[in-house]
Symmetry: C2
DNA sequence: TAGATTGTTAATCGATTAACAATC
DNA sequence: TAGATTGTTAATCGATTAACAATC
């Protein structure tokens, strides 16, 4: 039975399922049961069936799940075939590294442009992505369809820049600044990568085993 | 009452508390109640008191918490004053960006060395951190105390490299490869930064609001 | 003292796990 | 058909929230 409200915990497991299924595909596995999938992922079979059942009926009794079909269903749920468009704000070391190394296309995103304040990079291209002046942001956003912005800018300007982008109608933020961004509009979504938080939890766990 | 088993959910909130308290400190706030802290962080006062009570009694009835003191207590719990030592494996775009931009010292870590296979970077220094050949890994680890390694290497060599490091006794992995690493030793801790997983959850949420 | 706020116990809520009828 | 495995309902477990006596 499809559910109305999907919990955050379920959503966060979806990319892991997708990753595991992609791996199974590449290993040539055709079908898999919730039990075997659970063994590989350290998740109970019950949870797997519960999770999938939030979105539909993808399996077959007595058989299990077709790997390729299930992968494609979960990809669809995650929106990898939605042709999302993205621009990057801030092309410092980290922004540069993402443009060079992160496979945006594998998650269904196209990077159309990047913006920075430094004359040294404005007008150049990184991995095929043109870098414009942050002064041209308003014009650009009004003329293009942008689903998500990546914030790879200094902490100090994070909330201000986010506000500027929200005023332009941006509703998806992939936030790499170590700042908790917020909005009064519940339709605006923030996804944070907090490096420091992550390393601190590791610090805690190596000190408390 | 101090608890024996701290749940993962609590641990993951600690760095956020630490961040918020650092901010309060810098704003000159001296004391705060669980209620006001909760308002600022969008957490119930109950949860805050529950969380803190896992580790001790840091507040005072009728007063609340001393911001600076509480910050220091939580920092101590997280291990920021433990003088953890860290080496980086793989100095590509991302490794480079982290060495240049991430403030390791703010989380109590010292980066002593980095390793790579590329002759172009071996022997050089990035932000004061010497880059050695991956061939010298064994010797180095045996001669130095290393608490955590950062894995910023290609997916394809992730698990093998991790195994090699585990054999050398490394028990803390900050893993930036999009691979689920595992170990049979429960004392080995992995903390993953899965960029793709993060962006996919954002993709899901902008498509389903 | 009176008001505020803690730490903790009890109640509620939600998520995970177990069980099982349905059925391929 | 018999065995396997699903989707779903019920039971359990754990985490969050509410309530309150203790006390600064």
């Amino acid at each position: 039975m499809k559910k109305e409200n999907i919990s955050d915990a379920v959503i966060r497991r979806l990319p892991r399922y997708y990753r595991q299924l992609t791996d199974l595909c590449s290993r040539g596995v055709i079908r898999i049961s919730s039990h075997s999938l659970g063994q590989e992922m350290n998740i109970t079979a019950s949870q797997i069936r519960q999770d999938f059942s939030c979105f539909g009926e993808f399996g077959q009794q007595g058989y299990g799940y077709n790997v390729e079909e299930l992968r494609s269903e979960i990809g669809h749920i995650l929106g990898v075939d939605n042709d999302h468009h993205l621009v990057m704000i801030g092309v410092g070391n980290l922004g540069h590294a993402l443009l060079q190394g992160f496979l945006f296309s594998q998650t269904g995103f196209t990077v159309d442009a990047a913006f920075d304040v430094s004359p040294a990079v404005i007008g150049t291209t990184v991995n095929g992505v043109p870098i414009y002046s942050l002064n041209d942001l308003e014009t650009y956003i009004q003329e293009h369809s942008v689903d998500v912005v990546v914030l790879t800018i200094p902490q100090s300007v994070a909330q201000d820049t986010a506000n500027r982008l929200m005023n332009l109608g941006i509703k998806g933020f992939w936030n790499f600044t170590n700042v908790e961004l917020s909005s009064s509009d519940p339709d605006v979504k923030f996804e944070n990568i907090h490096f420091a938080d992550s390393l601190l939890t590791l610090s805690y766990r190596i000190a408390n085993r």
